[in-house]
Symmetry: C2
Subunit: 79 residues, 2 copies
Amino acid sequence: MKAKIHIMLKNGVLDPQGKAVGHALASLGFDGVNEVRQGKYIEIDLAETDRAKAGGVVDRMCKTLLANTVIENYVIEFE
Amino acid sequence: MKAKIHIMLKNGVLDPQGKAVGHALASLGFDGVNEVRQGKYIEIDLAETDRAKAGGVVDRMCKTLLANTVIENYVIEFE
């Protein structure tokens, strides 16, 4: 089963990557851009087929390696 | 209106970030991981409220700045 994980900086945490993209878009002539935020997207293909078990495993993966929970939020979906 | 963009390396293009995450997970004792692929996730808050127009603008943003279409695919969603 495939886990899809979105990792974003928490609201209020400065997002320099997003700011850089926003400025680059403005300098290319794209106006009307209010805000840009950039995060990570990770797809993990798991051998596990039980959704509840996979959920627990992926949650531990996020907490121990993938996300810095001090400044980042993560959302896990399965397909 | 908010555009949500997923940018992933095309299938067949080596994904060293994903490979590194996979190896790190294995070394932390997570087994049963078949494959990891890592991409970018960008949220753009636009002043534009017309969905068709916004779609065209964001598509141009992807082609000119956000994605390297030689090796990357992108998917745009709106909310």
